[in-house]
Amino acid sequence: MLPLADTGYVEATWVMVVKSLVIFGVIFAILPLMTVLERKLIGRFQHRYGPNRVGPYGILQPLADVGKLLGKEPFRPANAIPTLFILGPLLPVLSGVLALAIIPWGDVQDGVGLYGIDVPIGILYFFAVGSIAFYGLVLGGWASGSKYSFLGAMRSAAQLISYEVSMGLALLGAIMMAGSLSLVDIVHAQGEIWFIVPQAVGFLIFMLAGFAESNRAPFDLVEADAELVQGFMTEYGGMRFGSFLLVEYMEILVVSGIAAAIFLGGWMGPGPSFLDPVWMLAKMLALVLVFIWVRATLPRLRYDQLMSLGWKVLLPLATLNVLVTAVLVVVT
């Protein structure tokens, strides 16, 4: 058993509470803006404007969307399993919010660490919590009592096993170079050079797996609107559907945050130290833009193509990356 001090729980309770509230508030202010940003950018990618009617530059569009979703009936199909059906959208939200806790927004300043928690098992925590989201998808899809939902749920299960391994291996290189699993320590280890340079392969694999983790194009076959009518979400309506959508964006933010912390030097940037969270946010948003750019570009991969990409390309590449890094770390 570790003493409590070792796990980073050294701050006063009220500091922790305030930190959580601030992180929660900021993230939930960014999420709706991200939906507008995505819709506007996708529009620009297609020579259109995107939403521009609600409020100045369409900035109030998410408000209108949420208003509409809240006004919908919380419908449940007759042959659905009630408790699991309701649990479906809750688990992903839980997992997304939990994963936000470990994103490092800055170093310890005036005795307060600018992060939710600095868990010494940082990345393992991210994987553990991130995988809970898939229980939500599978449960929700299965409990809907609809074949489309069921197909979507099965696809998400198959997708999970084909990218999760490579995702872990992709980060292993950076972990070995930093010698720690804690995200704060990993950011500290990037003082000389950001890990994106020595770990470019790992970064690419992590981002690819991140697209799959957040069910985004080109790996959105779980919710394939054209063939599966939104997959596991088919039977959901109103704000339950809305929370699935919310989770998608939250996972984009989480994956961007983890990638920014591990590969892009986290909060490091020029300027005084109070700008650290701003730098972190800027790096995260840059990665979010990449997510949107890729969505505007690539078509959806087929089920078997995702499998063969995950197992035949990403996994060997990630393993090779780990091996080479291990040798180099030992040698130098």
């Binding site: 529009g43 020579h47 259109r48 750019w293 890729v294 505007a296």
Partner: protein, 180 residues
């Protein structure tokens, strides 16, 4: 060339193929093509939107655009050009024009001819905007205008009477200049 006896020699062109999918070359190709795709979409972003914000912005119509009909009067005398001959109604393939003619009273003339249209109605919910009425008219009394924003809440409101057709339409449509 025995394989394709129906083709002349010069018509047979060798098909250019990319590297086979799969393997290292296939993976490299997929990666390169992905980058090319990303470049393509980014170029579209740089070009900017082409959308016309319709209710605020309108594409100008061509001078010969066939929109809502207009009935005309003589500029000098103010008499109606229509003499109620019903040729437009006869020409109309959609059968949407109704003309009822009446004799002009010498002291109180309505049109320049012997008779005038006492009732002139066009059912615009039936009209196909073919312009045959314009061609059939011997006095150029009816022409096609440029107005195309005629949506309404009631079908009955789409039956345009003579007064509505004679009135100067609210010009809401920009016109394309010569050669534009």
């Amino acid at each position: 060339m025995s394989e394709f006896p129906y083709l002349k020699d010069q018509d047979v062109v060798e098909v250019q193929r990319g590297p086979e999918p799969g393997g290292a070359r296939g993976a490299y190709r997929a990666f390169g093509e992905t980058l090319r795709g990303l470049k393509t979409t980014m170029a579209r972003l740089v070009e900017g939107p082409l959308t016309i914000q319709y209710p605020e912005e309108k594409t100008p119509v061509y001078p010969r655009f066939r929109g809502r009909h207009k009935l005309h009067k003589f500029e000098d005398t103010g008499l109606e050009k229509c003499v109620g001959c019903s040729l437009c109604a006869a020409a109309c393939p959609a059968d949407c024009i109704r003309v009822v003619a009446a004799e002009n009273i010498p002291g109180d003339r309505v049109s320049a001819g012997e008779r005038y249209a006492a009732v002139y109605e066009i059912n615009l919910s039936r009209c196909i905007f073919c312009g045959y009425c314009e061609i059939a008219c011997p006095f150029d009394a009816i022409t096609m205008g440029h107005d195309y924003e005629m949506a309404d809440y009631d079908r009955a409101d789409l039956i345009f009477t003579k007064e509505m057709l004679l009135a100067e339409p609210i010009e809401r449509t920009p016109l394309r200049r010569e050669g534009e």
